[in-house]
């Protein structure tokens, strides 16, 4: 079994990100999330267990993987060729793949490995007032590892931004994570508890508690972010509730995340089926409506 205290399970590391906090940043995508939002744009980060991705575009149909598989778990007549029930994630097919069409989703890093991976970007952080951003998935879902990693990152003077769904255990978070964080991007999705349960799989009570506790602590800059998901979060009722709530809390600055339908292809590559099929970008009409609701706030153009 994996010891997630000593190793972090990381889906991807994206350098040169300019959208996830100030300056030039390296984003660490943690694998696994306590929420299961049906529109999740990083579906490969949802599960904490191992997965294999398959790219039909890169595949040259040499069939060597299916011949080598000891479990007979590969069948190219399926859209996604791995038969998950049989697969033991031994990795033989991946080693044999000539074009890297088959890959493990994510890999395990020790604190030192992860640190080395991000420290090479330090000049870029320093020269642009950037740093690292913890994203996912949900970074706090791997709290023991995160704590150890952040201690090291901080001792190297790295600016850390946390993107969180807000669903974490308050006490250990405040004690072991928060002291190392410079900025929190706090996602606020669905105001109504029942709907939150329906679309995100959990109640939002804990999220509200954590949000207000974080604001009250005044120990870190918090930027609330609202994803604009057609029909689900992007309805008048929900937007109105958030706007009133945030205004009451005296919040001036927020961020709005427009829906990006390009995530659909990622779902197929890990053998999952789409639960949310909306494939349109926001239109001008949506934008006018959104701007109206949040006219009291400062936010970046959507």
């Amino acid at each position: 079994m994996l010891d997630l205290g000593k190793k972090g399970f990381i889906t991807d590391i994206k350098r040169n990100s300019l959208d996830d906090g100030p300056g030039i940043r390296t984003v660490i995508f943690f694998k696994g999330c306590p929420l299961s939002c049906i529109w999740c744009q990083n579906p490969e980060c949802m599960q904490l267990n191992q997965e294999i991705s398959y790219s039909s575009e890169d595949c040259i149909n040499c069939n060597e993987c299916s011949e080598i598989c000891p479990e007979d778990a590969i069948n190219f007549s399926l859209n996604y060729p791995i038969i998950i029930e049989k697969c033991t994630y031994c990795g033989k097919c991946i080693m044999h793949c000539k074009t890297k069409a088959l890959k493990f989703v994510g890999s395990f890093y020790t604190v030192k490995e992860l640190l080395d991976t991000i420290l090479i970007d330090k000049p870029f952080f320093e020269n642009s007032n950037g740093g690292i951003t913890l994203s996912g998935g949900e970074a706090t879902y791997q709290m023991p590892f995160l704590h150890l990693f952040l201690k090291q990152a901080k001792s190297n003077n790295i600016h850390v931004c946390l993107e969180t769904c807000g669903f974490f255990n308050k006490e250990p978070f405040f004690e072991r994570i928060l002291p190392f964080i410079d900025l929190v991007y706090f996602d606020l999705k669905i105001f109504d508890e029942k709907l939150h349960m329906k679309y995100c799989g959990v109640s939002n009570k804990k999220i509200f508690e954590n949000f207000t506790a974080l604001l009250d602590s005044k120990s870190v800059k918090v930027l609330p972010r609202i994803p604009l998901i057609p029909k689900i979060t992007l309805n008048d009722n929900n937007l109105n509730q958030w706007a009133n709530y945030l205004e009451d809390l005296g919040i001036k600055k927020i961020e709005l995340l427009p829906y990006n339908p390009l995530w659909h292809s990622k779902v197929n590559s890990i053998g999952k089926s789409l639960q949310f099929t909306h494939s349109e970008w926001l239109d001008a009409h949506d934008k006018v409506r959104i701007n109206k609701f949040f006219s009291a706030f400062e936010f970046r153009d959507i």
Binding site: K14, R15, N16, L18, D19, G23, I24, D58, I60, K98, T99, K100, I120, D121, P123, F124, E126, N127, S128, N129, G130, R300, D301
Partner: protein, 992 residues
């Protein structure tokens, strides 16, 4: 029965008939007035079938057509295929050139005979003159708005955003806002107007210089073979004196700087002693060609066709080398176009004069020095050298006097009583200039105005002496700052101070517009090889002084402002930045100018450059005074004759010969140029393959050096530069011209092209063929020869794609790259040039990554045949965001092994949603980090592919859209289609 030859023979007979019957045509081959007789023996043949040969002989005005080969042809045109030979009668000159480039045709012998012959075809048979006459009738001169009625021409600058800096930085003494953020082009009426004049001026062929040099050389002879046994320097002194003394003194309306490069508003000078004869067949069509058309009038055509070109047919540098050296293999390789391109056939001038010495002494004192040196030496050769310098310098004085007279003459024409206030002011201005020219540049300048005018006049003179390509301006900020300071000392009030600063910007702006009042004459072939290039007059700002102190000053920021407001491709601005000594504010301003102009300046890390220069034997104090030459190459101003672009070297050609046992498949499937390094199946392991590649490289290096040295020796005999020599440390003391090794530093600079593709090629072969043994090299090579066109080839491309590339993986490709860089550095360094200096390598490409790419087959890294390589040292595009990985990879290469610099192009598009401050923050993040990691040079194209695509469709909306190719700037709409597409295909990174 050969058919094609009789068809062509019939066409030739028709040519003969027309010429025999028409005295106008007869004059073309036998001209009693000019004493020109076209005697030539041209043989046309096909490699495929030698029976298909046909010849035409011109002999003392008689023409003979023979349907077979002849003995002793003066030029042979060898077509690969009979079919292509058959196209000859219908071929336009540009089609012939295209065939030459593609090696469907190659020549053996005197190229002037070919260009003259093709002129005859276009003139006599194709009747190009008739179409030309028709076009000329239709040209109506565009009405130019007079200054008095002119309003505004600042369009194209509206998008610019400016920061205000409220404190002085670096060594700025007077500018309260060093960024000069409040000024816009429309605040400068004169500059605004002169830029308007530039924009309505069409490029026009100016025959003046070529006419003058031909006149004097016809009289005195040019080569020793002509009977001119003067010391070459003395001969050139006489030539320069003659040109400058007879050059028309002109002052453009409302310009503050007297003198012009040509007699046209925007002109092209012609240097028939170098490559201009290539342009002969285009005389009647250059005004109508698709790319880069030039106006040309009948008078110019007649001068060039009758007087100029005939004289230089055997006397130009290329033909001189051919005759004198028995037509060596190294020259033949050059004329196949795929191995290397040798700039000495066109020019030798990639260097930077010592303007500080000139400004300090003035011409009179330089003359006195030359006179006393002449007396000091008893050696008659040295005496002649100093005489040559005196003649050349006196030529400059003669030209200046003529300009002074002209200023007064124009002023006199303005009648005080009836003139408007503006004209009255202009009259005063002209009289002032007339007075000023009586003092400078004879005497040392005392004010900024005098210093700029002195440099300008000397600049004109230098471009009359030797071809202007890549001659560069040096560190004008650093050199002009003392004059600005001394002017400022005399000013007390804030208002006067403000006015003076405006005046300084205006002067510098006039200088920029004047320096770019000319463009090179580019035969159509050049539009494909060097699309959109100007002369690449580089100008350098910033960095440190010789003691290592901060050299960023008021003039630095004034030049940056002018660069931004005018957005001209020339001068090509290069900014030196010494991290830790120069301020962050200065770097931010460089980046702001780059963002606003889309393409300039190019940015250099002083720490790396200075270090690289000291490693090749340049003293630290001297290394600190470097400036960019042509594109990006370093020259120690006034001490270093480094012909920094002596050749463009195609590393891919060595790879193609490695894959084909010494044969270059584009050139010929039979003729072996390179050594036999074995078939690919003979390579037992990766080392064998790598060694074979190095052997092919070595062969090409050896040949390129040989030809460069032969050309250099021809320049020594034919075309030294006494005027330029007088402005350098060394020649004056030693009595030795620059071209003979008179300078303190005497290197030659090479541009290595295609390195990123080479690294990836080596890595792919290593991985697939040797490490993983996934594919047999023979099979792989067949796919390459088939351009990956089979279904298996397509699958192979996918496998190649998954192999790490330079710029996307960690250490392995960097190591490979370093190994090749070290090898070519060492190999070139092991040779001496004809002046006793060393060869230094650099990694930038002008536009030759497209030109050479167009002539090269497919490569193991998956690059398809005839596609461009990447520019300079830029990694191959990737389908994910690898900007940081790219930066890290290029920075990791050892800059000490790139003493002739590199070009790292990054296309980076700001997010319109970002604030100006955020955008600059990102640009700084990349640039400063690249430098922190050891990077040496970087340049941004700040324009999106979408904009470029739109500019291809609607060029009229993008007249001034500037882009950076590899080291030089160009207007996008001037570029050939391949180059435009290459720019579009470059990876586009975004700051969002």
């Amino acid at each position: 029965m050969p058919k094609v030859r009789s068809k062509i023979a019939n066409v030739f007979r028709l040519l003969k008939k027309y010429i025999d019957e028409n005295p106008e045509f007869q004059k073309e081959i036998y001209n009693q007035k000019t004493d020109f007789i076209f005697n030539a023996r041209l043989l046309f043949t096909a490699e495929e079938d030698e029976n298909e040969s046909v010849s035409i002989i011109f002999n003392n005005g008689n023409i003979e057509v023979i349907e077979e080969t002849i003995e002793n042809p003066t030029i042979t045109l060898k077509y690969k295929k009979v079919k292509d030979l058959g196209k000859l009668p219908r071929s336009k000159p540009e089609e012939i050139v295209n065939m030459l480039l593609k090696n469907q045709l190659h020549t053996i012998g005197n190229l002037s005979h070919m260009t003259k012959f093709f002129f005859l075809i276009t003139y006599v048979l194709l009747k190009h003159k008739d179409a030309y006459d028709e076009r000329i009738q239709k040209i109506h001169k565009e009405e130019i708005i007079p200054f008095e009625k002119f309003e505004d021409f600042s369009s194209g600058t509206e998008h610019m955003k400016n920061t205000i800096l409220n404190y002085k930085t670096d060594n700025v003494k007077y500018l309260d806002d060093p960024y000069l953020g409040k000024y816009k082009l429309k605040d400068f009426e004169r500059l605004n107007y002169l830029k308007y004049i530039r924009s309505v001026s069409k490029l026009e062929v100016c025959p003046e210089r070529s006419k003058l040099i031909t006149e004097i050389c016809k009289k005195d002879g040019y080569t020793p073979e002509d009977g001119n046994n003067d010391h070459p320097g003395l001969k050139m002194g006489k030539i320069v004196n003659y040109i400058l003394s007879h050059k028309m003194p002109m002052i453009q309306d409302w310009d503050y700087l007297p003198g012009t490069s040509t007699t046209k508003r925007l002109g092209t000078m012609i240097y028939p002693e170098f490559g201009a004869l290539f342009f002969w067949p285009e005389l009647y069509s250059i005004d109508n060609r698709e790319l880069n058309p030039h106006l040309i009038d009948q008078e110019a055509i007649d001068i060039l066709d009758n007087e100029v070109f005939p004289f230089w047919m055997d006397r130009n540098v290329r033909e001189y080398v051919r005759t004198k050296n028995g037509y060596p293999l190294s020259q033949k390789m050059d004329e196949h176009f795929v191995f290397y391109f040798m700039w000495k056939t066109q020019a030798i001038s990639h260097t930077i004069p010592g303007f500080p010495t000139f400004l300090k002494m003035g011409i009179n004192e330089l003359l006195n020095e030359a006179i006393s040196k002449e007396e000091e030496f008893s050696d008659s050769i040295k005496k002649d050298f100093y005489k040559g310098i005196q003649l050349a310098l006196n030529g400059v004085l003669n030209y200046t006097r003529n300009l002074a007279d002209e200023a007064v003459h124009i002023a006199d024409k303005i009648e005080e009583q009836n003139a408007s206030e503006m004209l009255k002011m202009r009259k005063q201005e002209l009289l002032h200039l007339g007075q000023l020219l009586l003092r400078v540049p004879a005497e040392p300048p005392k004010t900024l105005e005098e210093a700029i005018i002195s440099i300008w006049i000397m600049w004109i003179a230098l471009t009359q002496e030797n071809a202007h390509m890549g001659l560069s301006l040096g560190r004008l900020d650093h050199w002009l700052q003392p004059y600005l300071e001394s002017d400022m000392e005399k000013i007390s009030s804030d208002k006067q101070k403000d006015e003076y600063i405006k005046k300084a910007i205006e002067l510098m702006g006039c200088f920029f517009l004047r320096v770019s009042d000319q463009a090179p004459l580019v035969p159509d072939v050049g539009n494909y090889l060097f699309g959109g290039s100007s002369q690449d007059f580089a100008l350098t700002v910033g960095g440190v002084d010789e003691d290592g102190n901060n050299a960023v000053c008021d003039m630095t920021f004034i030049i940056l402002k002018v660069t931004e407001m005018l957005t001209l491709r020339d001068p090509n601005l290069n900014a030196r930045y010494f991290p830790g000594v120069n301020s962050k504010e200065y770097l931010d301003r460089i980046l702001e100018v780059n963002i606003n102009t889309h393409a300039t300046p190019s940015i250099h890390n002083d720490i790396q450059m200075i270090n690289a220069l000291t490693k090749v034997g340049i003293k630290l104090q001297d290394a600190r005074t470097w400036a960019a030459t042509g594109c990006v190459e370093p020259t120690i101003c006034g001490k270093h004759f480094g012909h920094t672009n002596c050749m463009m070297f195609n590393t891919i050609a060595a790879m193609e010969m490695t894959l084909n046992n010494g044969i270059h498949p584009v050139v010929s499937n039979q003729k072996r140029f390179g050594p036999k390094t074995g078939e690919v199946s003979d390579f037992k392991n990766n080392n064998d393959f790598l060694n074979a590649f190095k052997q092919q490289l070595h062969f090409m290096i050896e040949k390129s050096v040989e030809y460069n040295n032969l050309l250099g020796r021809a320049h020594q005999i034919l075309h030294p530069s006494p005027l330029l020599s007088s402005l350098f440390d060394g020649p004056m003391d030693k009595g030795i011209d620059l071209v003979d090794g008179g300078a303190i530093y005497n290197t030659s600079g090479v541009a290595m092209i295609g390195l990123a593709d080479i690294i990836d090629t080596l890595n792919v072969v290593k991985a697939l063929v040797y490490d993983r043994k996934e594919i047999d090299f023979n099979v792989f090579n067949d796919h390459i020869k088939n351009n990956f066109s089979s279904p298996e080839g397509e699958l192979l491309l996918k496998r190649i794609k998954s192999i790490p590339k330079f710029g996307t993986d960690g250490s392995q490709t960097i190591q490979l790259g370093q190994e090749i860089i070290d090898y070519v550095y060492d190999d070139f360094y092991s040779f001496d040039n004809y002046r006793g200096g060393k060869y230094l390598v650099g990694f930038w490409s002008m536009s030759n990554h497209v030109a050479f790419g167009n002539l090269s087959g497919a490569l193991p890294n998956g690059r398809k045949a005839y596609k461009p390589f990447t520019p300079g040292l830029t990694p191959v595009p990737s389908d994910r965001d690898v900007l940081i990985e790219n930066i890290r990879a290029v920075a990791a290469l050892d800059s000490e092994k790139m003493p002739n610099n590199l070009a790292f192009n990054v296309k980076l598009v700001p997010d319109p949603k970002d604030t100006h401050e955020e955008t600059i923050n990102y640009f700084r993040g990349y640039t400063q980090s690249y430098f922190d990691l050891g990077g040496m040079q970087m340049q941004f194209n700040v324009v999106s592919s979408d904009t470029l695509k739109d500019a291809m469709v609607q060029p009229e909306n993008y007249r001034w859209l500037m882009v950076r190719i590899s080291g030089y700037n160009a207007y996008f709409v001037d570029l050939n289609k391949e180059l435009q597409l290459e720019l579009i295909s470059r990876t586009e990174f975004h700051t969002h």
